[in-house]
């Protein structure tokens, strides 16, 4: 097999490929220099950012990075671009493995590594090249014919498709000429270099050996030259191709903190709040900008963008990136080392100039962008940092948001104009103890502002109270000692007010030696579970969907009434994407007698926001379509007569949107607690 494969080839390998390989090795030194230069450029840009520790849990980071890189776990979630990228990635990997092995195997006398390695290397590099071509054609079809709106095409994008194709074509031609010029056509060329063998059949050669040598020389050089220039281009030019290096590094340094937790501000040490200049971001926040490949998945999942607002998460990242590059040291300045922590003045302010205030306030912090991003870019913390600056340094925010913050400051809740007090909802529920009277309880129910003070959501707290009573749970409430959890303040950008609220509640919990807390609001749940530990508030926090599911599984609740309903479930962002609670609400709904459950097209981690997160419960939607109405339309498409939620904000948004769409006859929003209360009631209501 091997003899045939080499027959007639020695002269070309000895006289042509050996010098080419030696030349290549010299060029490798140039490439190493280019790589060092390229990395140094990024390093100098990253030095503009502030400090942040992302070097903990190295093995966990490494594990996810390798999984993402080699298995494409996130990318493959969208089949077409996923398979396309997988073909290009693995095609390139095989191609390069084959390329690296082949030059060295003959030079070491065919047997070390064994000659068979050469044969397999030849084959896998050809398979790799074919995979790249198929993946590339899929990419070309998508970018230039299908043209999804999320893709923008720059000159660099077009260039690389053609460039890669030319490299592969000249590679097949180089080997094809070698086969043709060998004069002998051994049969096993077809096995070990099938594509090049086909090329050899159509390529003309000379009768004279010396001419053929020159011919093969030409081919070898004309393949090697664009290939090395391409590698040089990748290493020096800050194009999207650098994601080959930068994206895995960004995945490695991703946040390992709870998904729903924002980074706290040290209020005592901070000289200014939030971020108003690009160098105010941490190095990791800046690295995010470098890792973006403009794939647009974030934009395709952003409720603000899809409802016609000015915000596009992709645009935010790209605009910040350009601003960062413009603010960074120039090609000579980066060696002078004078710009550490201080960017060049571009004459454009980041907030207002690069990113408009409208964009900053459009974000609902739903996390759909982050969940979709294959590069693990963290969009929310940048937007919140800019909000913090607007609110705390510049006192600029939407008027209605300001009113909500003032309400928290003055009254400890967000429900402006309410006349209710925090214990009104439990008037007829025996068993609800005030901790002030008796703190010896199994669990504390942190009711939250909406469920305690707002008419529609008081029905949810009542329903949950009845469930607890039916299950004989010894539970307590804080009553008037309970204060807003602080989530609206933190998401709007008033970190100071959030920390005040957090400290106040933590102090109250500690006063009563509270260990276990159940919450009906996912925003409160997220705050208490993921953010209070930042201030010493370590408690076991459970969402009511988890707790009800637990009571059902323990047999403490008897679901006896046939509800006769078709139900769809809306995953609230702060329960789902921020805290990965997807199963328990569905377990409860499926346990209800007489219920037909149907998923919406967008569900679980692909769920569509109701439009209330990120402080938007207290902001007007002035541009585009109402997000809540879009979500209601999606719920109506299921033809269900109930849209179940497990979040007071979502419930309120559905109530308003269903009324606005005049769809009250078709569908009704209910909290899962209300559904369970119907199923356990002695006198069931329709």
């Amino acid at each position: 097999m091997g003899d045939l494969f080499w027959t007639g080839q020695e002269i070309y390998i000895e006289n042509i490929y050996r010098p080419v390989i030696l030349g290549t090795l010299i060029f490798f030194v140039v490439l190493a220099g280019a790589l060092a230069f390229g990395l140094f450029r990024h390093y100098q840009l990253l030095r503009l950012g502030t400090k942040e520790n992302r070097f903990d849990q190295i093995f966990t980071r490494l594990k996810v990075t390798l999984t993402e890189v080699f298995a494409h776990m996130r990318i493959i979630k969208e089949p077409y671009p996923g398979i396309m990228h997988l073909l290009i990635f693995w095609g390139t990997a095989l191609f390069l493995i084959g390329k690296v092995i082949r030059p060295f195997s003959y030079a070491v006398e065919l047997s070390n590594p064994p000659q068979a390695v050469f044969l397999y290397a030849s084959l896998i590099s050809e398979i790799g090249a074919v995979m790249i071509i198929i993946g590339g054609l899929l990419a070309i079809y998508r970018r230039y014919i299908a043209k999804p709106s999320r893709l923008d095409t720059k000159p660099d994008d077009t260039l690389i498709y053609g460039w890669v194709f030319i490299i592969l074509l000249t590679g097949f031609m180089a080997k094809g000429y070698r086969i043709a010029a060998g004069g002998i056509q051994p049969t096993d060329w077809a096995t070990w270099a099938p594509v090049s063998y086909l090329f050899s059949k159509i390529l003309p050669t000379f009768d004279t050996q010396s001419y053929n040598e020159v011919l093969v020389w030409h081919r070898a050089v004309l393949h090697t030259l664009p290939a090395f220039m391409f590698l040089l281009y990748i290493m020096v030019n800050r194009s999207r191709l650098q994601h080959i290096l930068l994206t895995p590094v960004n995945v490695f340094f991703r946040s390992l903190e709870p998904k729903g937790a924002l980074v706290p501000v040290d209020l005592e040490k901070a000289e200014s709040f939030g971020v108003s200049k690009i160098e105010g971001f941490t190095w990791k926040q800046l690295m995010d900008l470098d890792a973006c490949t403009r794939c647009g998945r974030c934009q395709d999942n952003c409720p603000a963008y899809l409802s016609g607002k000015t915000l596009s998460p992709k645009k935010v990242i790209q605009d910040l990136k350009q601003h960062w590059y413009d603010s960074g040291p120039d090609i000579f300045g980066m060696f002078r080392n004078k710009l550490k922590g201080k960017g060049r003045d571009t004459g454009v302010s980041m907030i207002g100039g690069v990113i408009t205030q409208e964009m900053i306030w459009d974000c609902t912090t739903c996390r759909a962008c982050q969940e979709a991003c294959p590069a693990y870019i963290e969009h929310i913390n940048k937007i919140i940092d800019m909000r913090r600056n607007l609110v705390l340094d510049q006192a600029k925010m939407p008027e209605t948001a300001e009113m909500a913050l003032r309400c928290i400051e003055e009254r400890g809740h967000t429900c402006k104009g309410t006349t209710a007090c925090r214990t009104d909802w439990c008037g007829d529920i025996a068993g609800a103890k005030l901790l002030a009277n008796d703190s010896n309880v199994e669990i504390v129910y942190f009711v939250g502002c909406s469920a305690a003070l707002e008419d529609r959501n008081m029905k949810v707290s009542k329903a949950f109270g009845k469930i607890l009573k039916a299950a004989n749970v010894n539970f307590g409430i804080l009553g008037e000692e309970e204060s807003c959890c602080g989530d609206p303040a933190r998401r709007i950008g008033n970190e100071y007010l959030f920390q005040m609220q957090a400290m106040k509640n933590i102090e109250t919990f500690k006063k009563y030696n509270v260990k276990r807390i159940v919450v009906t609001c996912p925003h409160g749940y997220n705050c208490l579970k993921n953010e209070y530990p930042q201030f010493g508030g370590e408690f076991e926090v459970i969402h009511h969907s988890q707790y009800i599911a637990e009571l059902i599984s323990q047999g403490r609740l008897k679901l006896k009434n046939n509800l006769d309903k078709a139900i769809t479930y809306h995953d609230g962002c702060y329960l789902g994407r921020h805290n990965s609670i997807y199963d328990e609400p569905r377990t409860i709904i499926n346990a209800l007698p007489g219920v037909q459950f149907k998923e919406m097209a967008r569900h679980a981690n692909k769920s569509f926001c109701c439009g209330a997160g990120g402080g938007h419960m207290w902001m007007e939607e002035k541009t585009g379509v109402r997000i809540s109405e879009m979500r209601t339309e999606q719920a109506l498409e299921t033809n269900c007569n109930v849209v179940a939620t497990a979040c007071p904000f979502c419930l309120q948004m559905f109530e308003d949107a269903i009324k606005a769409k005049e769809a009250s006859e078709k569908i009704r929003p209910l909290d899962i607690a209300e559904l369970v209360a119907l199923a356990i009631a002695d006198e069931p209501k329709k």
């Binding site: 260039l159 053609g162 001419y211 011919l215 030259l225 391409f230 194009s239 090609i331």
Partner: protein
């Protein structure tokens, strides 16, 4: 017929080699701008690189016509 086929083959080769140099030169152009050459110099940079590329192509074209196997 052979001469005709040879001309066609040479033209295909020239197209491929032209593409090789086009991509290299276009890549160099993008690198130059990324390294800090201002967009206002775009015209002169593009002209210079186009001239260099054209010269290379003329050389390759003439070389291929004189040195190319008979078909």
């Amino acid at each position: 017929m052979d001469t005709f086929l040879r001309v066609i083959a040479v033209l295909i080769e020239v197209a491929i080699l032209g593409a090789v140099f086009y991509y290299i030169i276009a890549g160099v152009r993008l690198i130059l701008f990324d390294l800090g050459i201002k967009q206002q110099h775009d015209k002169i940079v593009t002209l210079f690189l186009t001239a260099a590329g054209s010269l290379l192509l003329v050389f390759i074209f003439s070389h291929l016509f004189t040195f190319y196997p008979e078909i």
